[in-house]
């Protein structure tokens, strides 16, 4: 047996095939989610949206990809050329890397780290570097201001996302994402977004707090990924296109893929943390009906959350920057602090309500 660092080749190869499959599914799924984003946007504005390439415009994203590849890659004369090329690479690599710990179905995870949540926070924070390096290296005013805005906005909401995640961790007692999902098994009333127990008056304390945390996480996710209504860094009326102004061709494509990967990651985080991951809303097994595989529940919930994000983009007007920062620091941060106090007191008094902690995925 050929060995490398004490590991056997077949295992390594098998793992590589798994990861490649994961990446391909992710990228192809992303292509259709992009189309869905545009279609929803169009439908809200009573337009048709892309409908020329392929049936119902299904191949639009692939045509767009080809267009990006055949466009000239312009590197501005005044820019720092190494950093200019490095920035989109950093964005895409970190956006891919975060997905390593997201479980799509029992056992369907690239690496089931025990530090899953911490890993996600760490790597997604690194994504800020891509934006700020890109904005600085362009040596142009709009990208520079856009990058500053984007960074300030992302780090502001990262704080509240961290606090919101702690309320979930208090209830689960593990940083492992698979265990967080398993703690929500049984039915939709066990999901962390709801935490309803109909026979238990105690859950009246937990339900409003956790539902509020779920809503806060949704809004913070929008702000964290620079999605409308918080797309201040890309506000075209003031900053043209933010940190992406000087980018063209595939360098721009890398930024865009990275951005959408982060958006879908936030949808997946919402699903894993609050909406029960791959568990069905009602845990009933009917003998005459085929079971829906867990992966489809996970994917369905992610697509549903993305649909909500697309709707928000279409129907909500843009925020002003001072309102955005006020919302993050003066509303979300104090209220999630209070929520931590409430939830931790609840856990101290009544213990964790999580059920399936011991069970593995």
């Amino acid at each position: 047996m050929i060995e490398l660092f004490g590991m056997e080749w077949p295992w390594l190869l098998w793992k590589l095939v798994q990861i490649l499959l994961f990446v391909i599914v992710l990228l192809v799924g992303l292509a259709f989610l992009l189309l869905m984003d545009r279609k929803v946007w169009a439908a809200v504005q009573l337009r048709r949206g892309p409908n020329v390439v392929g049936p119902f415009g299904l191949l639009q994203s692939f045509a767009d990809f080809l267009k990006f590849v055949f466009k000239e890659l312009i590197i501005p004369a005044g820019s720092d050329k190494v950093l200019f090329i490095l920035a989109p690479i950093i964005t895409l690599v970190t956006a891919f890397g975060v997905w390593a710990v997201v479980p799509a179905a029992p056992g369907w995870v690239i690496s089931n780290l025990n530090l899953g949540v911490l890993y996600i926070l760490a790597i997604s924070s690194l994504g800020v570097y891509g934006i700020i390096i890109g904005g600085w290296a362009s040596n142009s005013k709009y990208p520079f201001l856009g990058a500053l805005r984007s960074t300030a906005q992302m780090i502001s909401y990262e704080v509240s996302i961290g606090f919101i995640l702690i309320t979930v961790l208090l209830l689960v007692g593990s940083l492992n994402l698979t265990e967080i999902v398993n703690a929500q098994a049984g039915g939709f009333w066990n999901w962390h977004a709801l935490m309803l127990d109909f026979g238990d008056p105690k859950s009246l304390i937990l339900f409003p707090v956790m539902f509020y945390m779920f809503v806060l996480f949704c809004i913070s996710a929008l702000a964290e990924t620079n999605r409308p209504p918080f797309d201040l860094p890309e506000a075209e009326s003031e900053l043209v296109a933010g940190y992406q102004v000087e980018y063209s061709s595939t360098a721009y494509l890398l930024f865009m893929i990275g951005e959408y990967l982060n958006i879908v990651l936030m949808c997946a985080m919402l699903t894993v943390m609050f909406l029960g991951g791959w568990h069905a809303p009602l845990d009933v097994k009917l003998s005459f009906m085929p079971q829906i595989p867990p992966f489809f529940w996970f994917a369905g919930k992610v697509v549903f959350m993305f649909f909500l994000f697309a709707m928000v983009k279409a129907i909500v007007p843009r925020y002003r920057y001072d309102q955005l920062m006020r919302l993050g620091w003066k509303v979300f941060l104090p209220s999630s602090l209070v929520a931590i106090v409430i939830v931790s007191t609840y856990v101290m008094m009544f213990g964790r309500t999580a059920v399936g902690l011991a069970g593995g995925g």
């Binding site: 060995e3 004490g6 891919f96 690239i110 690496s111 201001l145 780090i155 990262e158 940083l175």
Partner: protein, 149 residues
């Protein structure tokens, strides 16, 4: 699956260790690090994809830069100032506040996971800690560090 993985690692390294410089038996540290190998592989694949995209543009796309095309974009006129200009000190302030509160979050992670094992004392200590940070936030608020006008 993880157990099987660790078993493979244990058995193979123990068999190799007699012949090579790996004299110590595989510690739990190495088995722990082995979990991160797929993560590194994912990062490598991400890097390969991004480089491939950039190379594709270099190969397929036309390239005819001229002075106007590669000049800095600025709404139709030549830029008249250095673009790396002074910026508002508030961005700096936000970054400092972020560091304080993000470190606080990092402190709270192990506490949140082990709250059922540390008892009332551990809970109370962190409540005091949170109170102090709330006072700090109130101070920053009062000083106007959170205002953007």
């Amino acid at each position: 699956m993880t157990d099987g993985l660790q078993f493979i690692a244990f058995s193979t390294v123990n068999s190799v260790s007699s012949g090579t410089q790996l004299s110590a038996p595989l510690s739990t540290q190495s088995a722990f690090l082995l979990e991160y190998l797929p993560v590194v592989m994912l990062f490598a694949i991400g890097l390969v994809i991004s480089l491939a995209f950039l190379v594709m543009a270099k190969i397929f796309a036309p390239s005819s830069p001229d002075a106007e095309k590669i000049s800095t974009y600025e709404c139709g006129f030549n830029s008249f100032d250095d673009s790396r200009m002074k910026f508002d000190v508030r961005f700096y302030l936000v970054a400092i506040l972020f560091i304080i509160f993000d470190i606080e979050v990092a402190f709270l992670f192990p506490w949140a996971v082990s709250i059922d094992k540390i008892g009332v004392y551990g809970w109370a200590v962190v409540m005091i800690f949170l109170f102090e940070l709330a006072v700090g936030l109130a101070y920053a608020w009062k000083k106007g560090a959170l205002d953007w006008e």
